[in-house]
C-alpha cells in the first residue's frame, strides 16, 4: 500500500465541512456550569484585597475563586513564574499583576451572563506600580522590577561567539550597520481558548481543551493544583488553529481548579469556559518583538567576513517560551551563511506587556529579518546582485554552522535559493546572477506607482533543540488472525489544523502495508496515549513519522512471530543535540533543517503608501511531501500569515494596554489582501534523517517573507525601512509625506 506522496483526503474533512467536528467550545455536558475570569486590565499593581462577597451573593453564582483557592499558585512552561490567580497568597510575589490579562478571580455560575455580571461585582483594591514596557528602559538597573525575586528584568543572556570579530571587521571593505525592530504579532486562531473540566469516571480531573501538548498542560495543571500527574487528564478534541499560541497555558488550570472546588463542595458539576476574542487577545502570548543592533562586513569580492548582533527580546510579563525562542533567534540572526567571525548577544527581558511566546517560526522570522535585511543591505553597499552575494556565502553540504557543529546532513539552501530566484526573474551568466526586474522603479503608466522585487532565504530547525532530550512515543496495536484486520495507533499529536491525523494515518498504513481504512487513531487523551511531544517546532511529521516507521517494523516482526494481537509501544530517539557552551554558545543544536527562499514583487503607491504584494515566489524543500495537497495548503497559509506580518498586522500597545483588542482593529489578511496566485515550488530533496526523506514543514514558509518585502520596497522606493509592518502610514513617513512620529 503506497500512501506516501498521495494527496489523500483529510481524515477529518467530512466532519469539518458538515459542521459536525467537535471543538472544545462546542461541548456540552449535563449540569455544566460556566466560568468567567476577572482579568486585571492594569499592567502592574499589587492586589491588596479581593472582596467577592457581592459577587457570591448574586443569584445564580455557585462559587468565586481567588488566589487563596490555588493550592500551589504558580505555573509556566519552563519556569513557574506566573500566578494562577493574582492576589494575597502564600507564594511570595504572587500578590501582583504584571500585565493586563493577568487573572485575579474567577466566577462559576449557572450561566455565562451571570458569571460575567458577578465579575463586575468583585471589588479589588490595587496598589499601582510603575510600568515599564520598553526593553531598553526595562534593562536599566533602576527600572521598576517586574519580578522582585530576581535582581534584574533581564532574565537570560545567550551568546554565540566564533572567530575574531574585530579582525573580521578589519578585513571588511564594506560595513553596514543598523538598528532594526520587529513587531508583536497576534495568532488570531479562529477558535478562542476553551475548556471543559469534570471528574471522570475513574476520579481523574479531566480537562477537555485546546492545546498543542497534552502532557505539558497536564504537568502544569497538576503542579498548580498539587495533584499527581495521573490524577489529571487532558483531552484535546479538534482545535481551531494554534500556530504556537496554544503552547502555553490559558484557561486550563483555572477551569480545572473550579471543577475540583465544586467536587470538594459536594456539587460535582462540570465547568465550562470560553474566552471571548478580547480575552484571547489580551490573555495569550504574542510573537516577540525584537530590537537588533547589528553590523555586518564583507570584502569587495562579496565574502561576508563578520557579523555582530545584539538583540533584545521583549519577553513580556512572564517567561513562557522566551528563552528558547531567543536561543533559536541567535542562530537565525546570522542566516544560513558561512561567516568566519561572529558575535551574537541576545537578552531576554521582562516588561509589563502581554507575555510573548511561541508563534510559528519561534523567533526565526524576527532573526531572519535581521540577517536578510543586512545581507540585502550589504549587496546594495557592494553594488552586487543580492542573489550573487548569497551564492558566494550560503552554506553547503558539510559546512560548519556559525554555532560550531556541522550542518545536519542534507543542506539545500542553495537549491531553494536558486529555484526561487529563477522564478522571480534572476538569471546567471558570465557576470553572475542578475535580474532585469529589479531597478525598474517607475511604472510608465501611473507614475505614482513604484515597482520592486526582493528576495530572502532561511532555514528553520526541526524539533526542539540545544540538548533537549527530544523523543516521540506511540503505541501500535495490530488485530486479526491470518491478516491484519485493524491497526490502532495511539499518539499524542494534537490536530490543530495542519493535518497531523491524516499524515499519521498515511504513514502508518504505508509502514504496515495495509489500507488506510484499517487504521484507527487513539488521539491526544493523556489517559489513553503516551507522550508524542508537542505539535510545534515543525516537528510532528518528522518525529512521529520516524516513530511509526521504526515501530511498524517491530510490530510486523511480532506479527510474523504469530503474536495476536500485537501491543507495542515505541519511542523514537533522534540524533541527540547538545546544549550551548555558556561562554561561546558553541554546540550541535539541531536534528534537521527545512529550507526556503522567497521573493516578492510589490507595487508601492507613493500617494497612499499602500504596499501591494503582486506576486509571491516561494521555493521550499520539504524533503518528501507525504501529502502534496496538504503541503501546498500549509505553505499558502503560512505565506498569508507572513503577508499579514510584513504589511498589515499592527499590534498596538500603549503603556501596557492593548489598543487592538478585536479582529476589527487587529487586521489579519482577508482573501482580498493577498495575491491570487502564489508561485510555490516544492522541492523534494530527501532529508537523510527524515521519515521517507521528509523534513519538517510547519514553520519554514513563515521565515523570510518580511525581509523579502522590505528589499522589494527598497527596490521600489530607494528607502530601507528598518521596521515593519509596512502599513501605509509608515511608508508615507518613510518617503517624507507624513511627519515622523
Amino acid at each position: 500500500m503506497n500512501y506516501i506522496g498521495q494527496s489523500v483526503p483529510r481524515v477529518d474533512a467530512i466532519a469539518k465541512v458538515k459542521g459536525e467536528a467537535v471543538f472544545a467550545s462546542d461541548m456540552v455536558m449535563p449540569g455544566q456550569t460556566y466560568l468567567k475570569m476577572l482579568m486585571a486590565h492594569r499592567p502592574h499593581a499589587i492586589v491588596r484585597r479581593v472582596d467577592t462577597s457581592k459577587a457570591e451573593a448574586l443569584s445564580g453564582v455557585i462559587t468565586v475563586l481567588t488566589s487563596v483557592d490555588v493550592p500551589n499558585n504558580e505555573f509556566g512552561y519552563y519556569t513557574y513564574d506566573q500566578p494562577v490567580l493574582c492576589g494575597p497568597s502564600s507564594k511570595l510575589y504572587a500578590d501582583r499583576v504584571r500585565f493586563i490579562g493577568d487573572r485575579v478571580a474567577a466566577v462559576v455560575a449557572e450561566t455565562e451572563e451571570i458569571a460575567a455580571e458577578a465579575c463586575h461585582l468583585i471589588e479589588v483594591d490595587y496598589e499601582d506600580l510603575p510600568v515599564v514596557c520598553d526593553v531598553e528602559e526595562a534593562m536599566k538597573p533602576d527600572a521598576p522590577r517586574i519580578h522582585p525575586d530576581l535582581d534584574s528584568n533581564v532574565f537570560s543572556h545567550h551568546k554565540l561567539y566564533n572567530g575574531d570579530i574585530e579582525e573580521g571587521f578589519r578585513q571588511a571593505d564594506v560595513i553596514v550597520e543598523s538598528v532594526l525592530n520587529t513587531p508583536a504579532q497576534e495568532h488570531a486562531f479562529l477558535q478562542t481558548e476553551s475548556g471543559l473540566s469534570y471528574m471522570d469516571e475513574e476520579g481523574r480531573l479531566a480537562v477537555v481543551t485546546t492545546g498543542q501538548w497534552g502532557v505539558k498542560d497536564r504537568k502544569q495543571i497538576a503542579h498548580a493544583l498539587d495533584l499527581a500527574e495521573d490524577q489529571v487528564r487532558v483531552i484535546y478534541p479538534m482545535t481551531g488553529g494554534a500556530f504556537g499560541g496554544r503552547e502555553d497555558i490559558s484557561v486550563q488550570i483555572i477551569v480545572a481548579l473550579a471543577a475540583l472546588k465544586l467536587h470538594k463542595m459536594g456539587n460535582p458539576r462540570p465547568v465550562k469556559v470560553v474566552w471571548n476574542r478580547e480575552e484571547s487577545i489580551i490573555g495569550h502570548c504574542k510573537r516577540h518583538p525584537f530590537r537588533f543592533f547589528t553590523r555586518w562586513g564583507a570584502t569587495k569580492d562579496g565574502k561576508i567576513v563578520a557579523a555582530e548582533v545584539k538583540m533584545l527580546a521583549d519577553g513580556g510579563a512572564y517567561k513562557f517560551t522566551t528563552s528558547i525562542v531567543a536561543s533559536n533567534a541567535v542562530i537565525n540572526s546570522l542566516g544560513p551563511y558561512e561567516i568566519p567571525n561572529v558575535k551574537v548577544d541576545a537578552y531576554d527581558i521582562y516588561t509589563n506587556t502581554v507575555p510573548r511566546g511561541a508563534f510559528r517560526g519561534f523567533g526565526g522570522p524576527q532573526a531572519v529579518y535581521c540577517a536578510e535585511q543586512m545581507v540585502n543591505k550589504l549587496a546594495a553597499a557592494l553594488n552586487m546582485d543580492p542573489v550573487e552575494l548569497r551564492m558566494r556565502n550560503l552554506a553547503k553540504e558539510g559546512s560548519l554552522q556559525t554555532i560550531g557543529a556541522p550542518y545536519p546532513p542534507g543542506v539545500t539552501i542553495r537549491e531553494v535559493t536558486e529555484a526561487c530566484a529563477r522564478e522571480a526573474g534572476w538569471q546567471t551568466s558570465s557576470i553572475g546572477w542578475t535580474n532585469d526586474r529589479t531597478g525598474n522603479k517607475v511604472n510608465p503608466v501611473n507614475t505614482n506607482l513604484r515597482r520592486g522585487v526582493g528576495l530572502a532565504c532561511a532555514h528553520k530547525n526541526v524539533g526542539f533543540s540545544y540538548g533537549y532530550p527530544e523523543n516521540c512515543t506511540i503505541g501500535i496495536d495490530l488485530y486479526g488472525q491470518t491478516e491484519i484486520e485493524k491497526a490502532v495507533i495511539h499518539h499524542g499529536a494534537s490536530e490543530v489544523g495542519m493535518g497531523a491525523h491524516t499524515v499519521i494515518t498515511q504513514m502508518a498504513a504505508d509502514a504496515l502495508g495495509i489500507p488506510m481504512e484499517k487504521i484507527e487513531l487513539v488521539s491526544t487523551d493523556t489517559a489513553r496515549v503516551k507522550d508524542s511531544g508537542s505539535v510545534s517546532a515543525s516537528r510532528m511529521t518528522f518525529f512521529i513519522g520516524n516513530a511509526i516507521k521504526e515501530g511498524a517494523e517491530k510490530a510486523l516482526e511480532l506479527w510474523a512471530h504469530e503474536e495476536r494481537p500485537v501491543h507495542l509501544e515505541h519511542t523514537y530517539w533522534p540524533h541527540q543535540t547538545t546544549a550551548p557552551d555558556p561562554e561561546t554558545g558553541q554546540c550541535d543544536p539541531n536534528v534537521s533543517y527545512g529550507y526556503t527562499a522567497q521573493a516578492v514583487e510589490v507595487l508601492v503607491d507613493m500617494e497612499t503608501g499602500q504596499v501591494k504584494i503582486e506576486k509571491i515566489h516561494c521555493a521550499i524543500d520539504v524533503g518528501k511531501a507525504i501529502n502534496p495537497q496538504q503541503v501546498t495548503g500549509q505553505i499558502e497559509g503560512g505565506l498569508v500569515q507572513s503577508v499579514g506580518y510584513a504589511v498589515m498586522e499592527n499590534f498596538v500597545e500603549k503603556d501596557g494596554q492593548v489598543l487592538t483588542r478585536n479582529l476589527s482593529t487587529y487586521l489579519v489578511p482577508t482573501v482580498l489582501d493577498i495575491p491570487d496566485v502564489m508561485n510555490i515550488k516544492v522541492l523534494e530533496i530527501p532529508d537523510p534523517r527524515g521519515p521517507w526523506g521528509a523534513r519538517g514543514l510547519g514553520e519554514v514558509m513563515n521565515m523570510c517573507l518580511a525581509p523579502a518585502v522590505s528589499a522589494a520596497v527598497h527596490d521600489a522606493t530607494g528607502i530601507w525601512f528598518d521596521h515593519f509592518p509596512l502599513i501605509p502610514e509608515e511608508i508615507l513617513i518613510g518617503i517624507n509625506k507624513l511627519p515622523k512620529k
Binding site: 467530512i14 469539518k16 471543538f23 456540552v28 479538534m238 489544523g497 495548503g633
Partner: protein, 160 residues
C-alpha cells in the same frame, strides 16, 4: 419571548430571551454548534448563516430579527443522503479544510454566492468570501473549491 421560525427546513417554536443573538440562539438553544463564534463583532464570518437565502453574520443579528423567516445553518447543507453536498465535497477534494473552524461559514458564503450567481469569476468568488477569515489555508484552495463547484453546477444545469 416565543420564537417561531424555520431553521434548516424545520419549523421551530421555542422560548428564549428576547435579546439573544441569532448566533447564541442557534448554538445554545437549538444546539446547532456547527455555527461558530470567532469574534462576536461581525469581522470573522465564522458565524455565517443564510437568512432568507442571504449571507449574514449571526452574531450581529438578534434572533428576534429572524422570527418568521428562514434560516439555513451548516447543518442544513448536505446531499440528499445526508453526506457532503457537491460544494462540501469540493472543499474536501481541493484541500480547502485545515483546522475547520471557519469552514462552516465559508461553505455558507460559497452557497450564498452560487445561489445568486451561477457563473462567478474568480474575482467575484474572492469578493464573496472576503468577509470570512481563515487563518490556516491561505484561501486559494477555498476559492478553487467554490470555482470547481460553480463549473460543475453549470454543467449539471446544461444537462438537466
Amino acid at each position: 419571548m416565543i420564537f417561531d421560525l424555520i431553521v434548516n427546513e424545520e419549523p421551530i417554536h421555542t422560548e428564549a430571551p428576547a435579546d439573544i443573538s441569532l448566533l447564541h440562539f442557534l448554538r445554545d438553544h437549538l444546539k446547532l454548534t456547527g455555527t461558530k463564534e470567532g469574534c462576536n463583532v461581525g469581522e470573522c464570518g465564522a458565524c455565517s448563516v443564510l437568512l432568507d437565502g442571504k449571507l449574514v453574520n449571526s452574531c450581529l443579528i438578534l434572533a428576534a430579527q429572524a422570527n418568521g423567516r428562514r434560516v439555513v445553518t451548516i447543518e442544513g447543507i448536505h446531499a440528499e443522503d445526508g453526506g457532503p453536498n457537491d460544494l462540501q465535497q469540493a472543499f474536501i477534494e481541493y484541500g480547502a479544510v485545515q483546522c475547520g473552524f471557519c469552514i462552516p461559514g465559508m461553505v455558507l458564503a460559497g452557497e450564498a454566492l452560487l445561489n445568486s450567481n451561477i457563473n462567478p469569476t474568480r474575482a467575484e468568488i474572492r469578493e464573496a468570501i472576503a468577509g470570512n477569515l481563515c487563518r490556516c489555508t491561505g484561501y486559494q484552495q477555498i476559492v478553487d473549491a467554490i470555482q470547481a463547484t460553480a463549473l460543475k453546477r453549470q454543467e449539471k444545469g446544461r444537462r438537466d
